[in-house]
């Protein structure tokens, strides 16, 4: 199906609008370079997995993704494919946009084939969530205004992903580096969370009050 339709689909994909596209200019002006910066990473490929990681199907999927995380917070994977732990038998695969079959990628198909008739699910969730990237030395302070998790680096290490609430909405928070976070809000919450983050970032544009 994808092979014959690929060139035409690819062209149409340029017309896609990401969930926070309307905020792109606001993200640019609201970012404080070197302090805290916010941007949307659009159209990442995301796949919902439900499988017992110790089953045969789990092992087959494991070999496609390069691992399945064992416990809450863990992130597995290889190369630019990451697998986030959402539940004991539920995972979220995050991969670059090009991994999606609409752009000629074969990740989802490979996962479906790996699951085969095993117990579980492989569902394309690329349109379910969008991705915000929040970086900079003040990124943690911004998140702490609306997240009850302990985000101090002694507790939350880089490479940890947790499903929680930020600004009172459900978000998957992935600490990708010492001062960089990826936030995955559902598409319908993207506008709200984008504006909430901008508001939380605003004070850092002004000089610090001694």
């Amino acid at each position: 199906m994808a092979e014959t339709a690929a060139p035409e689909t690819k062209k149409n994909l340029f017309l896609r609008t990401s969930p926070a596209a309307l905020l792109r200019a606001a993200f640019d002006t609201g970012s404080v370079p070197g302090t805290v910066e916010l941007s949307e990473i659009t159209f990442l490929t995301m796949v919902g997995l439900r499988v017992d990681r110790n089953s045969d199907a789990g092992q087959r999927i494991w070999s496609v993704t390069g691992g399945l995380p064992a416990a809450c917070g863990a992130v597995a994977g290889s190369g630019d494919t990451s697998v986030l732990w959402l539940g004991p038998e539920e995972f979220l695969v995050v991969a670059p946009m090009e991994a999606h079959e609409s752009l000629g990628g074969d990740l989802i198909q490979a996962l479906r084939e790996a699951l085969a008739d095993g117990e579980g699910q492989v569902v394309d969730l690329s349109a379910n969530r969008t991705t915000f990237e929040l970086t900079g030395p003040r990124a943690r302070a911004v998140l702490e205004k609306g997240c009850s998790l302990d985000l101090h680096p002694r507790v939350l290490k880089a490479g940890t992903a947790l499903s929680t609430e930020i600004g009172n909405i459900p978000v998957v928070l992935w600490k990708t580096g010492d001062e960089s976070y990826r936030l995955f809000p559902r598409a319908s919450f993207a506008d709200f969370l984008g504006r909430w983050l901008l508001d939380a970032m605003r004070e850092y544009a002004s000089p610090e009050v001694p």
Binding site: C72, P88, S148, S163, T164, E165
Partner: protein, 109 residues
């Protein structure tokens, strides 16, 4: 705000959870044999316990898994967290387990 210890995720705010009502309400073995009153009691009648109460909780914003909890309805003290399907733990035996016991903020409010 209660701080609830999810068996999978650890301590999280109460707002991440959904309450699932009284635990250990078994589905009738043969529902067809129940009269209307018995059926209504199965569906709608729940204990209104003062003190330790076994209840179901769902970590809806986290791992999306159900678990059981023994909570004091007066003090809000969480006395035990245990898996679905497991029998209600003996209150005295469960008490010394420090991990499953969370002293909630504002419990005496």
């Amino acid at each position: 705000m209660l701080l609830i210890s999810c068996p999978n995720c650890g301590s999280r705010d109460e707002t991440e959870f959904h309450y699932g009502g009284q635990a250990h309400v078994a589905y009738p073995e043969n529902p067809n044999e129940l009269n209307d009153r018995e059926w209504a009691e199965f569906l709608f009648y729940r204990d209104n316990t003062k003190g330790a109460f076994a209840e179901r909780w769902l970590h809806s914003t986290g791992c999306r898994q159900w678990f059981n909890m023994l909570r004091d309805t007066v003090t809000y003290e969480i006395q035990a967290v245990y898996p679905m399907g497991a029998p209600r733990p003996d209150k005295a035996a469960a008490a010394p387990a420090p991990e499953s016991t969370t002293a909630p903020e504002g419990a005496t409010k």
